[in-house]
Amino acid sequence: MKKLLTATAATALLAGTAMAEDVKLGVLFGFTGPIESLAPAMGSGAELAMAEVTESGKLLEGATVTASRADTGCIDNGLATSNGERMIADGVAGIIGGDCSGVTGAILQNVAIPNGMVMISPSATSPGLSTMEDNGLFFRTAPSDAREGEVMADILKDRGINSIALTYTNNDYGKGLADAIQSSFEAAGGEVTIVAAHEDGKADYSAEVGALASAGGDILVVAGYLDQGGLGIIQSALDSGAFDTFGLPGGMIGDSLPANVGPDLNGSFGQIAGSGGEGAEKYFAMAEAAGFDGSSPYSPESYDAAALFMLAMQAAGSTAPADYGAKIMDVANEPGEKIYPGELAKGLELLAAGQDIDYVGASGVELIGPGESAGSYREIEVTDGENKTVNFR
């Protein structure tokens, strides 16, 4: 009996030290598929935070953190789930991912919840994930599209716009965003004259624009994609003189839109997730030094997701999801000293000394509600054929 006890204690001790020596974090993004152009910079962002912590040697008395990458395909639930399960088998302490909203929900339901694993997604924005039952295991450093609806309603109101026509690209993203914009704008006292879907990839949008024009409104809000139907709708609306100012949510913000439409787009405005300020600037510089583009969408959010994992582990003094999961909200929010990118070592020290921190990070992390980013947005106005940031919200 005594021997057994000693043996158990020894094993526990060994296991403990083994854990402290190397912490594995899963990086589960769509390295192939529709957002394969964004995934590399996201993965590099997460790994940058891990390298920073490993180098500092401050996490749980000198633990190293390594990344274990796997693919979700962005839209391939089967692939994402099996890769998630493989990560669990490999003994990861947390999963950074998924990326697209659909696979993120699938990994959460099929892998994270059954195994009690914590996930932090840097880029899933579907409002549906806010209400999904997650046992306190799911967080995201990207804001929900519902939040974008509120921001857009604020911008419209501030600009004195009282009625809008609204068209959206006919998929989960477009529909969710359109619902959010409509409900927020109506709650703020605005009028939505029509909500109509459009299909991407058609040659001719004059019929859709005819219906939108007939309904009228001060401006036309296009919740679509800038390289797809969104562009066609704007072009057709300008051609027929139906609208001359457009509201542009995140999917419509990009350099190609003003370039394709030309000077008629000047004066249109919108918003896209992203923050300015100290944190972002620092992160961009760090990313450049590490040899990748930090301003690529959701790269800052990926860095923050990785950082949150490690800070929460430090706060809990453990790498077990059941222990540190509850600490994520604590380290992300006030009170405490503000921690910016490149200051993870300082954050770890403060936590080790038993003090509170408020992780701000590269994307201005502030977790609200069921553990999702409050989200900061850049208000964009098209001026002289360029997207200019005029405000942060």
Partner: protein, 336 residues
């Protein structure tokens, strides 16, 4: 004034787009109807023949633009059109030689030829994607508008604007010229007459010494010219994308069948009937009615009969109604 505003709004959103679209459909349907009349089968590859012709026009246009050639306010694509027609003629003649002639000599049934044309459709479809890719291509240049909505408002002082795009004007003019040439050819020339004779009664035509291979060849040449013209005009007015031409097949066939397969006048009428039905049924009439109706009768809803998502359903329904009640079409074509 209100009446004028209503009229302008109606023209801007219904009449002008429908006339341009109708002309494009009519040119497409003429090609389908000629094949049906003379070669006696429904050519499913027609949409992709249009795409192939338009693709050559796009490539030649890019070449001309790179060489600094332009056509003033008119799109350069019009200069490229003859080359595109030539290229398309070569393609359809090769296809005929390699594929259709074999089945013609077998005296294959029309239904077999329809399936064969479907195979040809997939091959042409792949060919176009292979050469130019599946994406949107922009090739229009020159002046964009004949009248822009903003200028029209400034000129007339009306609340509603009327926009007529250059491509819409060109579409109508080119369509009228092409149709006039076709009818002159069919009715006045010896070859045209022999084609009509062959279409009316093949055996009698053969007995009177008409060379069937020559008739078939001339038919393909005319069809290639019509298809390319229709394809280029559609691409100029909307945008060039291979998949879109494949989708056009339905309204084009609906036009040809509604007008009466094998009847050229029917094809033209059918094109406009389909275009106007699609546009008027999916248009939200609120704006126009608000101007015309007395205040007490002002509509509160959008007055839209069908959502624009169901645009293609309109051609389906018209097709069904015509086939049920008048299988030979409005202008007495052949029964399908």
């Amino acid at each position: 004034m209100d009446f004028l505003n209503a009229l302008v709004a109606l023209s801007n959103f219904v009449l002008v787009p429908a006339i341009a679209y109708g002309s494009q459909l009519a040119l497409g349907a003429l090609g389908v109807t000629l094949i049906y009349g003379i070669l006696r089968f429904s050519n499913f590859a027609h949409g992709d023949t249009m795409a192939f012709g338009a693709m050559i026009a796009v490539l030649v246009t890019w070449g001309l633009q790179a060489a600094g050639v332009s056509f003033g306010p008119l799109p350069t694509a019009l200069l490229a059109l003859p080359f595109a027609i030539l290229g398309c003629i070569v393609l359809v003649l090769i296809t005929d030689r390699l594929v259709y002639r074999f089945y013609r000599e077998q005296k294959a049934k029309p239904v077999i030829l329809v399936i064969v044309s479907m195979g040809v459709m997939f091959i042409m479809n792949g060919l176009v994607r292979f050469i130019i890719g599946p994406d949107d291509q922009r090739f229009s240049d020159g002046a964009r508008f004949i009248v822009s909505a903003r200028d029209f408002k400034a000129m007339t002082g009306l609340r509603e604007g009327l926009a007529i795009k250059t491509s819409q004007g060109i579409t109508v003019i080119v369509a009228v010229v092409a149709v006039a040439l076709l009818f002159w050819f069919l009715n006045k020339t010896r070859t045209g007459k022999s084609m009509r004779a062959y279409s009316d009664n093949e055996d009698l035509a053969l007995l009177s010494g008409i060379n069937p291979e020559r008739v078939v060849m001339i038919t393909w040449i005319i069809v290639a010219a019509l298809a390319t013209t229709a394809g280029v005009l559609y691409g100029l007015d909307k945008s060039f994308k291979p998949f879109v031409y494949f989708q056009l097949l339905l309204p084009i066939f609906a036009s040809a069948i509604v007008g009466g397969l094998g009847n050229p006048i029917g094809a033209i009428a059918g094109g406009f009937i389909i275009a106007f039905s699609e546009v008027t049924i999916t248009y939200a009439w609120k704006k126009v009615l608000t101007y015309v109706a007395p205040e007490s009768l002002e509509p509160s809803g959008l007055v839209q009969f069908l959502s624009t998502d169901y645009k293609f359903a309109v051609s389906f329904v018209i097709l069904l109604i015509v086939l049920l009640f008048k299988p030979t079409g409005l202008f007495k074509g052949k029964a399908v």
